[in-house]
């Protein structure tokens, strides 16, 4: 098992190197001179030239990339052009807020998505199934920022149940301020999880081993839980892992709608002020997070599906012993 995890970790390295190069390359295509941006309108050409030299902007792209990677490995993502504060510090400052929102969003998706998907599959073509299918179709089709606006219009501005802006401090205010953003962020994923759970349950229901389980005299609840769900889980886990990427993208929009002080907002603000090191740092940070979630998904696979596990553990290579009766 450890071997498998190590192998997956090693496989991440070239991908992340590629990602940093790609993002670094794209963002360095930005028109406009960073030195000029930092120094503002009043700067003399000499001052700009001097800063360019100091920032190493005159070196070839590849050298700057290598320098960036080396700094990055030391935890140094550079400084913001806007306020000179270290990018790493700012990203780490905002990261917990986004993490809270993302986890809440995933929870919404799982808590709604999995039970509804299971019930839908068990009662295929029932009124309940049809309703949940229509709602989940609406869910996947709804832009989440629009849902956020509607929710805040209704529950914050009209009914006043929850705040429409910002993040509360203290446990209860935090929870109250989290409700609408979490629903906003999680609804689309919930709908995807419902659809995925339903179709993968329907696939499993038809399998022969479900007939075997029935022939054993197990009752339907046990069969659903022990036999169907565990097998249906593999594609569901994949879907949830992929949803996390969508969720990170969605977090920028949700954070904008609810003025949630997270990484997404930080990134959008940096984009608008052309603060390239900030953008670079936050995109990389989110991508690294996404990669770790994908790694976690792969590890979870191995726990759910013994066929994958044995590919990487010794037991799988054990010779088959033949026993003749």
């Amino acid at each position: 098992m450890w071997k498998y995890i190590l192998k997956r970790l090693l496989m991440m390295i070239p991908v992340l190197l590629g990602v940093t190069f790609l993002v670094f390359f794209i963002l360095n295509m930005t028109p406009g001179d960073p030195a000029a941006i930092i120094l503002g309108d009043q700067a003399t050409p000499e001052a700009i030239a001097q800063l360019r030299e100091e920032l190493g902007l005159n070196d070839p792209l590849l050298i700057r990339y290598v320098r960036y990677i080396i700094d990055m490995l030391h935890g140094d993502f550079g400084e913001s052009y806007k306020n000179g504060i270290s990018v790493a510090a700012q990203v780490l400052d905002k990261f917990p807020n986004t993490a809270v929102l993302a986890v809440a969003g995933i929870l919404v998706a799982l808590v709604i998505g999995i039970p509804v998907g299971i019930i839908s599959a068990r009662k295929q073509y029932s009124a309940l199934d049809n309703t949940s299918m229509v709602l989940s179709l609406l869910g996947v089709s709804m832009p989440n920022f629009w849902l956020g606006l509607l929710l805040s219009l209704l529950f914050a501005l009209k009914l006043g149940w929850f705040p429409s802006q910002g993040m509360g401090s203290g446990f209860v205010p935090l929870l109250r301020s989290l409700v609408l953003p979490a629903i906003t962020l999680g609804t689309g994923s919930a709908a995807t999880v419902v659809r995925m759970t339903r179709s993968s349950m329907l696939e499993v229901i038809r399998q022969d081993y479900i007939s075997t389980a029935r022939a054993k005299g197990l009752d339907e609840k046990v069969i659903t839980k022990r036999h169907m769900f565990r097998n249906a889980l593999i594609p569901i886990v994949t879907a949830v892992g992929l949803q996390f990427g969508t969720l990170l993208g969605g977090a920028m929009l949700t954070e904008t709608v609810f003025s949630w002080p997270g990484l997404g907002r930080l990134m959008v603000d940096s984009l608008n002020s052309k603060d390239i090191p900030m953008v670079l740092g936050s995109v990389l940070f989110m991508t690294i997070m996404f990669s770790f979630v994908n790694l976690a998904v792969d590890i979870v696979y191995a726990f759910i599906d013994p066929r994958i596990k044995s590919l990487y553990s010794k037991a799988g290579f054990k010779k088959r012993r033949v026993v003749v009766a």
């Binding site: 022969d208 075997t212 022939a215 005299g217 013994p306 012993r321």
Partner: protein, 328 residues
């Protein structure tokens, strides 16, 4: 043969309602099985063999399947009218089933041990975890698998080994009746005989009755006491093994026997039955075998013939008497 009647099926009718029409899978099947005996159920693919076995345990998927009519008495109680609770007591405990394809009949994410223990646990509430495991190990040994493989997963076993595990699950609670749906069809020929011998040995030891579903008349001849031939969802002939093989009365049975190669009989070439089984969504009104039958006359397509007794419990669904004649 020995003992009293264990299972009695009366007039079982099962249909599947699909987009392409209603499939008339079983059209009034009546059968019985006595304690300890083996009944061979023989027919072509699509004749309704698996539907019959699944119907006995109410394992038909609904929808699309539907048990329209009939009764299945097991030890005097109608399985089809039981509460779910009583049904769960019967399944896996008094009647158990071995499915056709061992590759797909085991849950891939549970160890074989867990899958054997599960059936023991659900029917023996009083046993402790250790006792259940002991029993599972004992069962595994009985089907010829060493005890140290109990914590392995199905994908680590070969097809024949998987089928042994499935048989262990089926026999773990000492059932009175085993429904074996082509238990060896999916296996290599060399493994087939091993597995079949083992089933036979175990069922005799445990005094379990069995319905052996097969399309292989050779297998049936080796193992069965009585035989029922099924065609287009109806039993067309049933009787003792000897009566069916030596003195077949239904043209379909005759055809089946003629189409197997034999080393002892001196025949120049095999005589396959011409034509195909009728479309089960659109069965003819008369005898469903009439279009393929060498003896058919216009009377055959008027109504489905009744099963008639030709003596010694030998029932035949044919209006003609063809014994002794060679059909050309």
């Amino acid at each position: 043969m020995n003992g009293k009647e264990l299972l009695k099926i009366e007039d079982l009718e099962i249909r599947y309602e699909t987009d392409d029409g209603i499939v008339y899978a079983l059209n009034g099947v009546s059968l019985h099985v006595n304690e300890g005996e083996t009944l061979g159920l023989v027919g072509e693919t699509g004749a309704g063999k698996t539907t019959l076995a699944k119907g006995i345990l109410r394992l038909i998927q609904t929808p699309p399947g539907k048990i329209v009519n009939g009764k299945v008495y097991f030890e005097g109680k109608n399985v089809l009218a039981m509460s779910d609770h009583d049904l769960h007591q019967v399944r896996g405990n008094a009647i158990s089933m071995v499915f056709q394809d061992p590759m797909t009949s085991l849950n891939p994410v549970m160890t074989v041990g867990e899958q054997i223990e599960e059936v023991i646990a659900v029917h023996n509430n009083s046993l402790s975890k250790e006792e259940i495991r002991e029993r599972a190990i004992a069962m595994l040994k009985r089907v010829g698998i060493s005890a140290d493989r109990i914590d392995e997963y199905p994908h680590q076993f070969s097809g024949g080994m998987k089928q042994r595990v499935i048989i262990a699950i089926a026999l773990a609670c000492n059932p009175k009746l085993l429904l074996a749906d082509e238990p060896t069809t999916a296996l290599d020929v060399t493994i087939q005989a091993q597995v079949l011998d083992m089933i036979n040995k175990l069922k005799t030891e445990m005094n379990t009755a069995m319905i052996l579903i097969s399309h292989d008349l050779g297998v049936v001849a080796q193992t069965c006491d009585r035989v029922a031939i099924i065609y287009a969802g109806r039993i067309v002939e049933t009787g003792n093994l000897r009566d069916i093989y030596k003195n077949p009365k239904h043209p379909y049975t005759v055809g089946l026997l003629d189409s197997i190669p034999s080393l002892t009989r001196d025949t120049k070439r095999l005589k396959p039955i011409k034509g195909l089984m009728p479309d089960p969504t659109n069965l003819p009104s008369g005898c469903p075998f009439a279009p393929r039958c060498n003896y058919a006359s216009s009377a055959c397509s008027e109504a489905v013939p009744e099963l008639t007794d030709r003596g010694n419990g030998h029932l035949v669904r044919c209006i003609k008497d063809i014994s002794g004649k060679e059909g050309q």
